[in-house]
């Protein structure tokens, strides 16, 4: 908690943060920037750095940005809190939620 670096800032443009980029893995190649149908991103003014997720409120969760990224895990779609749908394990009756605290292990089955 710092009392010095407090600035004026508007409210977030959207209730959601659709895109999460890992700056450690992103090389700033801008492939995601150039495939996005809605221009949600703009390139970082500094070449080779993480694109800016500027127009978050226009994201459609369509995913080509993730598909185009050459670096596994550099970018992912972040489903907002209101999208975290529950499911019930049939044999135990227990509910699980997307984004829950102690999630079950991932299911590695690829699509058909």
């Amino acid at each position: 908690m710092s009392e010095e670096n407090v600035y004026l800032s508007p409210n977030p443009a959207s209730a959601a943060r659709p895109i999460a980029i890992d700056p450690e893995k992103c090389t700033g190649c801008n492939l995601c920037v150039n495939v996005c149908p809605a221009d949600v991103f703009v390139p970082n003014p500094e070449a080779g750095r993480v694109p800016l997720v500027l127009f978050v409120d226009e994201c459609w969760y369509c995913g080509p940005c993730v598909d185009e990224c050459p670096h596994e895990g550099a970018i992912r779609l972040n489903y907002p809190v209101m999208w975290r749908v529950p499911w019930k394990r049939k044999e135990t009756g227990r509910h699980y939620w997307l984004g829950m605290k102690n999630p079950p292990p991932p299911n590695d089955t690829p699509p058909a």
């Binding site: 749908v85 984004g99 991932p106 299911n107 058909a112």
Partner: protein, 672 residues
């Protein structure tokens, strides 16, 4: 603090500088034989087929070819009939069924083209690299698989009118083909208007289009002998919430009606624009197809209640289905069933004839205490192939929902063991989507509508898929009766060819300087003000106007109010609408397009139909009788010098289909 002040605060901060070169007002000129507007499914196919005919082709797209359009993916290839292995129906009979299913309010021309050319188109797509067969034998032995061709079917397994496909491969295949054919691709260019030329007394020809680069603000002038409109249809007319982030609309946010607005201003004739349906669950609380349901992608998934009790399925006659298999067969005495077909606020014969199995009305069962909420999609109980087809293929291999698959499985969701929550109780009734509007619409019924889902209104076309304007063709969702992926593909392919043939015979075109200058003044208008009404405020104003005066219940008085309020909104556009960068400007212009679609097209269309119609979900307070015989027709509208002209067309447009299709097919290639 106003928006303008906020921007001033950032002046001089280099980190906040617009990252692309600013080229406001600078012109880029392109001259081609065929210009395609919109790079979605219809647009890609139109450009490919025109180029294959030897035409010089350019395509403009607001976003990127690979990422844009509703059809970046697709899980069903609908309604290909002719030559499909094992299909005994004729394209003629099927088209008639589809038209009847909508009470006549469908486009028999484009639907016949879809039924007849759909399989041929799919095979071409496969050659380009689209995956359409179960070559890995994942579904070997499944009831919905044709063992010889390895094609997979959906819904009605006996009649095979819909296929299951690997849609995420399609757009990439189309883009490769476009590139190989040397099509001139203009991405990040938003269509703003059509260039026209007067031909004689009352004929207009389209001779190109103008566009705005959404990154640089440059102005594009395209001239072309023929133009194909493929920019889909308007949405966000009654509602749009940026706060609900992407979950608000089925179709992509970039598709805001630029095509309709431009076509309208040029004088294109539209039909069925008075049709809209209750917006239903446009606030879908989950990722695309990321909650369980029994329809569409998830058909025919079992739904169970809180105690694991199955919600029963019924056939079209309300008879309970005993077995799972019966969900994929027509009812006794029924030829075949159509899913995703007609909707009406009243039952009618054409609906009943082709209605498929469905879940029993959930509302009634809850009321009677027979089932207990919440409900779940019971994937584990399904036959293994069905489970894998729904979650592994349909969800897992469609471009948008593959991310739902990835996110859910990463979080541990296992379709073999887990039941996904269903929000069926929010949707109501027995299905996904809504046909729940009662016959007696009462005041106070939610007035949030949409005119973009299902079979909608749009430009009227002939058997060349040409509009009433010389040189202007239309395809895909952005035409009368458009709705789905294979319809977009087949009509795009057909229209591109016709446009190329026309271009061979047409003389060179050039846009008039006067028109171009006028369009530039319109396009750059909002840049004159950095503080003022932002596009979101204008959009909200339009939405509210449409909710208040063009909602579920319409009347002459209310609709006239809509027109007056619309004039006010246009005044806001002229004097207050503000934009601060090319992205902002492009959005502002799109909202003006929404205003055109709502106030200039939809409201006059509603005024023109002086009768209520169950088929069109259309309720006029002063004309309560539903679908009187004299109003069973298409009402058409177009504008000429700012004056709305009404017309009409008979229902059953295009019939007899095969005869007309053949009559309009040239015996030898044109002009070759």
């Amino acid at each position: 603090m106003s928006w303008g002040t906020w921007i001033d605060l950032n002046a001089g901060n280099d980190a906040m500088k617009w990252p692309y070169p600013i080229r406001y007002g600078q012109e880029d000129a392109v001259d081609v034989d065929v210009l395609v507007l919109g790079g979605g499914i219809a647009g890609c196919w139109a450009a490919i087929s025109a180029a294959e005919q030897g035409a010089k082709v350019a395509i403009l797209e607001r976003g990127s070819i690979l990422g844009s359009g509703a059809g970046t993916g697709c899980d069903h290839w609908q309604w290909a009939i002719t030559d499909v292995p094992g299909v005994s129906l004729s394209a003629e009979d099927f088209t008639q069924a589809l038209v009847d299913n909508h009470g006549g309010y469908n486009n028999g021309i484009s639907r016949y083209i879809q039924a007849r050319d759909g399989y041929e188109t799919l095979l071409e797509l496969e050659e380009m690299g689209g995956k359409v067969r179960d070559t890995e034998d994942t579904f070997k032995g499944a009831e919905f698989r044709d063992e010889q061709t390895k094609l997979l079917f959906a819904y009605d397994y006996e009649n095979r009118i819909v296929m299951r496909v690997w849609g995420m491969t399609f757009k990439r295949a189309l883009r490769s083909r476009l590139r190989r054919l040397g099509v001139d691709i203009h991405e990040r260019v938003a269509l703003t208007g059509l260039l026209t030329e007067r031909r004689g007394e009352d004929a207009t020809a389209v001779v190109g289009a103008t566009g705005l680069n959404v990154r640089t603000g440059a102005f594009n002038v395209f001239t072309a002998k023929a133009t194909v409109l493929c920019a889909a249809r308007p949405q966000r007319i009654w509602t749009y919430s940026t706060e609900l982030a992407g979950s608000c609309d089925l179709r992509m946010p970039g598709a805001m009606g630029g095509g309709y607005a431009a076509a309208w201003r040029a004088g294109t004739e539209f039909a069925m624009m008075e049709k809209s349906i209750p917006a239903g669950l446009s606030i879908n609380p989950s990722a695309p197809h990321g909650s369980g349901h029994p329809s569409n992608t998830w058909y025919p998934c079992t739904i169970v209640d809180a105690n694991g009790k199955e919600v029963p399925w019924v056939d079209r006659d309300g008879h309970a289905l005993e077995t799972f298999e019966e969900r994929c067969r027509p009812a006794p005495g029924q030829r075949f069933f159509i899913k995703g077909g007609g909707q009406s606020s009243l039952p009618h014969q054409g609906l009943r004839d082709y209605q498929g199995p469905r879940l029993t009305n959930v509302d009634t069962l809850v009321e009677k205490g027979e089932i207990e909420l919440p409900l779940y999609a019971d994937l584990p109980s399904l036959p293994a192939h069905e489970r894998r087809a729904i979650f592994g293929l349909m969800v897992g291999q469609e471009a948008k929902t593959k991310h739902t698959y990835a996110n859910y499985t990463h979080a541990g969701f296992d379709p073999d063991r887990d039941m996904l929550l269903s929000y069926q109780q929010l949707i109501g009734g027995g299905g996904y989507g809504t046909s729940a509007e009662g016959a007696k619409t009462v005041l106070g019924f939610p007035s949030i509508r949409n005119a973009h889902s299902g079979t909608t209104g749009g430009p009227v076309v002939d058997w060349n898929l040409r509009t009433n304007l010389e040189g202007l063709y239309a395809a895909g969702d952005g035409m009368l009766g458009g709705n789905d992926h294979s319809h977009a593909a087949t009509t795009g392919r057909y229209a591109g060819r016709r446009a190329a043939w026309f271009a061979r015979q047409a003389t060179a075109r050039s846009g008039s300087r006067e028109q171009i200058e006028a369009e530039k003044r319109r396009v750059y208008g909002p840049l004159q003000r950095k503080d003022g009404v932002h596009w979101k405020e204008l959009l909200a104003g339009i939405n509210k106007t449409m909710q208040a005066y063009c909602g579920a219940v319409k009347s002459e008085g209310l609709l006239r109010m809509a027109l007056e309020a619309g004039e006010d909104l246009k005044h806001v556009v002229d004097t207050e609408l503000a934009a601060v960068n090319p992205h902002d400007l492009a959005n502002a212009l799109s909202v003006v397009d929404i205003l055109t679609a709502g106030i200039d097209i939809i409201v006059p269309a509603c005024l023109a139909r002086r009768a209520s119609s169950a088929f069109l979900h259309f309720s006029r307070a002063e004309y309560p009788a539903m679908d009187p015989p004299e109003w069973q027709k298409f009402v058409t509208i177009r504008q000429e010098d700012g004056v709305v002209k009404q017309g009409e067309r008979p229902l059953n447009l295009g019939a007899p289909f095969e005869e007309n299709y053949l009559a309009h097919r040239p015996a030898a290639p044109i002009g070759a």
